[in-house]
């Protein structure tokens, strides 16, 4: 596997800083989007399951450092969601302006569900409430809203890399 670190590390740092410094000021319906999750899904769609999972783990871990929830929770949710997207990308349509928003929405729901379930298992009882599900629904909608911009950013950063779905000879 090629090493994408020199491109993805600055991207991950930028995503985390934007998430914790900027987006608390830009709440819609009381929530902030999961930029790191959307970016991980974008990387997985572009490069495949493994790079997506690593990127999701790294950016999720960076985000966890600023949260009151257990460190590693976002890392796990982002990594698993990105891995799933990267594994399923062969079955996805390649074209359509709607695809980033769809992946952002789906990733938001899947990643958010993993976050809630693992969080409850880890003892964070606040994540097992109706309010938590309502929050994750709104977050997923916000993810769909920001996904086109995040996907465009990832495409710019990885502009010289061929998308993973072009390599069909496993």
């Amino acid at each position: 596997m090629r090493f994408f670190g020199p491109r993805l590390v600055p991207l991950a740092v930028t995503i985390v800083i934007t998430q914790v410094a900027l987006f608390p000021q830009l709440r819609i319906l009381g929530v902030v989007p999961d930029l790191g999750l959307v970016a991980a899904v974008a990387v997985a769609y572009r490069l495949g399951a493994e790079p997506g999972a690593w990127f999701g783990f790294a950016v999720g871990l960076g985000y966890d450092l600023f949260l009151h929830t257990p460190t590693g929770l976002s890392a796990l949710a982002y990594a698993l969601c990105a891995y799933l997207v990267g594994s399923l990308e062969r079955g996805l349509l390649r074209r359509g302006r709607w695809l980033p928003s769809f992946l952002g929405l789906a990733g938001g729901f899947v990643g958010g569900s993993i976050f809630l379930i693992v969080g409850v298992l880890a003892g964070v009882t606040d994540l097992g409430t109706v309010r938590a599900v309502s929050i994750e629904t709104r977050v997923a909608l916000y993810d769909a809203l920001v996904a086109p911009a995040v996907f465009a950013l990832v495409n710019v950063v990885l502009r010289d890399e061929q998308p993973a779905w072009r390599f069909r000879d496993d």
Partner: protein, 315 residues
């Protein structure tokens, strides 16, 4: 040729990531912000804090505009209520100022310090919660100002929360409305004391009392709007006398052995710009005159007796 297939490698990577994440979650839960992970988080906060402060100054109007789009009707209603309340409060202020000055002078004469006499640091709120499942704020002062984890934080209306963690240049405060928050309180009028816990599902605090610990007269005397303060009970993280909220509802549970009192916090996060961090922790001396006394009897409530449950409207 046998080897590590691409799918096999991917599965190995996935397992490695999952195990690493679970290990981190476990370590973080055990260390509770005191281990290396907590220290790493404080360093990260310190690095990002200047950016967050700048973003707050630049993007607050944008955030307010977004909030206006979705909450416009609610804001107008709230504005009308606050205007009416403000006019009413101004009429009371003149008499209250005289009473406060007289009381302060009396306490000083008898050697009893006010809350104002507790060492404190003023701080500004520079950011809200970075995540969606916590109710926290970030302040622009931290360990360099003597602020430590556990210190109480108060605002213009009363209790704001307590410091979760502090770093050089900033600190994070857990708000009284967060689902993990708890505080020992007392109902000022009835002298009923107990632990109140915040609820993840709502903004209210809940105080559950055993009916054997309070009299029927005390419960009947509780009315919606009654003041609730910190009681400063033994081992409490907060000194006594800090306003916490108002009684919203009193309900006798179906089991007939406990009474639930719902408390609406006075905290208004949206309008919170400056707070006072009290440099005080549990165990620090508190004058005996500030420690409230409790008058309870062991008379049980007879089965079938009615408990006053004031009608409530959503707040």
């Amino acid at each position: 040729m046998p080897g590590f297939s691409r799918d096999g490698r991917r599965r190995y990577v996935l397992i490695l990531i999952v195990l690493t994440a679970i290990t981190l979650i476990t370590l973080d839960q055990r260390a509770d912000d005191k281990g290396p992970l907590g220290g790493t988080g404080r360093v990260a906060h310190r690095i990002v804090a200047p950016i967050a402060g700048a973003a707050d100054r630049v993007f607050s109007p944008v955030g307010d505009w977004l909030a206006g789009l979705t909450d416009g009707g609610e804001l107008r209603r709230r504005n009308r209520e606050l205007t009416e309340a403000l006019l009413e409060e101004r009429a009371k202020n003149r008499a209250a100022d005289a009473a406060i000055a007289e009381n302060r002078e009396y306490r000083r004469l008898t050697g009893e310090p006010w809350l104002d006499d507790i060492d404190h640091e003023w701080a500004s709120v520079i950011a809200g919660a970075p995540g969606n499942f916590e109710r926290t704020i970030v302040l622009n002062k931290g360990s360099e100002a003597g602020i430590e984890a556990g210190f109480p934080v108060v605002g213009p209306d009363g209790l704001v929360g307590r410091v979760l963690e502090a770093w050089d240049g900033g600190s994070k405060v857990l708000l009284v409305t967060d689902g993990t928050f708890g505080v020992a309180v007392q109902l000022t009028e009835q002298r009923i004391r107990g632990p109140a816990e915040a609820q993840a599902e709502s903004r209210t605090l809940r105080l559950n009392l055993n009916v054997a610990d309070v009299t029927e007269e005390q419960i009947d005397a509780i009315e919606r709007g009654d003041d609730v303060q910190t009681c400063g009970c033994d081992g409490s993280e907060f000194p006594p006398g800090i306003p916490v909220g108002e009684v919203e509802q009193v309900e006798l549970k179906p089991s007939q052995i406990s009474v639930e009192i719902r408390i609406r916090p006075l905290l208004e996060v949206a309008s919170l710009d400056h707070v006072k961090v009290l440099l005080w922790r549990a165990g620090d001396p508190v004058p005996a005159s500030l420690t409230p006394t409790t008058t309870t009897t062991t008379t049980s409530i007879t089965p079938g007796s009615t408990i006053a449950t004031p009608t409530t409207t959503a707040g």
